[in-house]
């Protein structure tokens, strides 16, 4: 049996004094892909920020263990170095910081944590260009300040590139398909599928079923009123697409 990678127990969290996550429980094992679906405004993104330790997202009770370690006591960067990667709904633009510079800092921070030597510049550039090409990112785009002036699709390709080279053991996709055309969504889905193996796990947070046609989940959970109200397999996503969330939101 595969070991748990993420164990969330009785988690309660608030943003700006308002409770968003309430008695939330979920265990994700190595090799599994879970999808969390829920209506807009239910707090799905809050969950992803809580898992990444963003300031302003306050855990009031409960526990989260990541590969057996207490996740909540780690800083954002420690979580990333331990292997958590969040594909963001709105990747942030950072003027003045070329994409390659950004990627190099990130890769070397993670490598240092793993006790690996820093990559030398040539080695690194070769690897980034190669992986970039597979994702439709050319050298010109790599020289531009990260995400600045990128289209929605370009931003998601860059997220996919970051994920590909950082090789996280646990990826969270937060509304990763919002605003994407089919091609860009396929690129993101392909990079997620390429990373998928029996040691890694994924959590896909989404409003629509669309992305799940490309990244097939083992479990689908419905998130409403701060916690999971129903769990099923991929067929639950199809059912939701047809019937909507109304009956689950009303439940409590």
């Amino acid at each position: 049996m595969s070991a748990p990678i993420l164990e969330i127990e009785d988690l309660c969290a608030e943003v700006g004094g308002k409770q968003i996550i309430k008695d939330f429980n979920l265990t994700i094992n190595e090799g599994e892909v879970h999808a969390i679906m829920g209506p807009n405004g239910a707090g799905k993104s809050t969950l992803s920020y809580v898992l990444c330790g963003k300031s302003g997202y306050k855990v009031t009770s409960g526990s989260v263990r990541f590969k057996g370690k207490d996740l909540l006591s780690m800083s954002t960067e420690e979580r990333a170095r331990e292997g958590i990667f969040l594909i963001m709904q709105y990747p942030v633009e950072i003027p003045g910081v070329p994409s390659t510079t950004f990627l190099k800092h990130a890769v070397n921070a993670v490598r240092q944590h793993q006790g690996l030597p820093e990559l030398d510049t040539m080695e690194f550039l070769k690897m980034v260009r190669e992986e970039g090409r597979k994702l439709g990112i050319d050298n010109e785009m790599l020289k531009r300040p990260i995400n600045v002036g990128f289209s929605g699709g370009e931003k998601k390709r860059m997220e996919a590139l970051e994920m590909t080279i950082l090789k996280p053991s646990f990826a969270i996709l937060d509304e990763a398909d919002s605003g994407l055309d089919i091609d860009a969504m396929k690129v993101v889905a392909d990079s997620v599928n390429a990373l998928r193996d029996n040691k890694r796990a994924m959590l896909i947070i989404t409003h629509f079923q669309r992305l799940l046609n490309y990244v097939e989940p083992d479990y689908v959970h419905i998130f409403a009123n701060g916690h999971i109200v129903k769990t099923g397999d991929k067929h639950l996503a199809v059912e939701l697409e047809q019937n909507g969330y109304a009956e689950y939101v009303k439940e409590n």
Binding site: E77, A80, I94, G96, V97, T101, F102, A106, A109, V110
Partner: protein
Amino acid sequence: MPLLSDKTYLYTELAQEKGVVLPTPKTEAWKYTRLRDLLNTEYQLCPSTDKTGSLPPFEADVIHIGNGWVVGELPRIEGVSLSFITETMEKTQHPFALMNAAYLTQGLKIEISGKLKRPLLLNYFVVPEDKNYFYHFRNQIICHENSSAEIIEQFTYEGAVKSCYFANIVNEIRIEANAKLHHYKYQNEAFKANHIALHKVAISQSGEYESFCLQKGANIARNETEIALNGEGAEAVVNAAYMMNGWATLDTTTNIYHYVPHTKSSQLIKGVIGGTAHGVFQGRIHIAPNAIQTTGTQLHKAILLSDEAEIDVKPELEIFADDVKCSHGAASGELDKEQLFYMRSRGIGEEEAKQILINAYLTDTITQISDERVREWFKILITG
């Protein structure tokens, strides 16, 4: 009053002796920069030294200035005539420029008549030996018609970082028709030292003055640039960056006078300050009544890294002509939290992430530097 090298003098008393009125907290042009530490220190006359400061990583013709005295012989440089000055070129009301003239340590006349191939580096260096030395140095830089030159001033020190020494620098710069001067400065004085510099620049027809100043050191430091655009087609770029984490006051003051039509000036000044540091920017653009079709732009931005850090900004536009393009802007704030989170969520440590953002923030103040080696040098100084 002949000064004796083994005696100490209060700067205020030296001023009184020559009838110079030093600024008080009520003096408008100096109201944000508290001079108490500078004026109430007892100084000793700076003796000459043979020691020289380290050199930046690019080829240059170098004049070493140790404790305010030129070290060794003046170099021979093609297209440049170098000599010691005996009198000042222009009259001024600037109190520290008056003091500089009254108690001049040494001064250089730098006449440029050709197109220089290498930068000329004025490598100022202080060996304070625990004493509070003061020195007054002055350059008269004359760029003759059609000449072009790059002059770099570097201010560093050795040892005895607790010294409250005082460097008072004046540059009188004349740029004749079609001449070009690129003027860059790196100020990294000891953390209790004081540094006041005035660059007084007059530009003739189609002359160009392009400058950048990076201030990273000293307790009280002011870099003041006064530019007179006297000929049509004259252009000036005055860019600057300042970084400080201690308690210092770093002041950037500009006064740009457009006296004739078709002149152009631009200013980009950016600062990053933490600790209890204090940033000051005073920028004046003056456009004379007949100076139509002039362009003057000014932008000051600052990032405050701590609650105790403070900035004072005073932009002044004095526009007496119609048909001009003039703008000024000022912004200050903190590092962007979303950008920091994004970087940290990729494994980059908080301090490293902040440093990356600060570097990126300041780097656009040096993009106009056309000499790539010098630009790279400043990039490293900003990063380091």
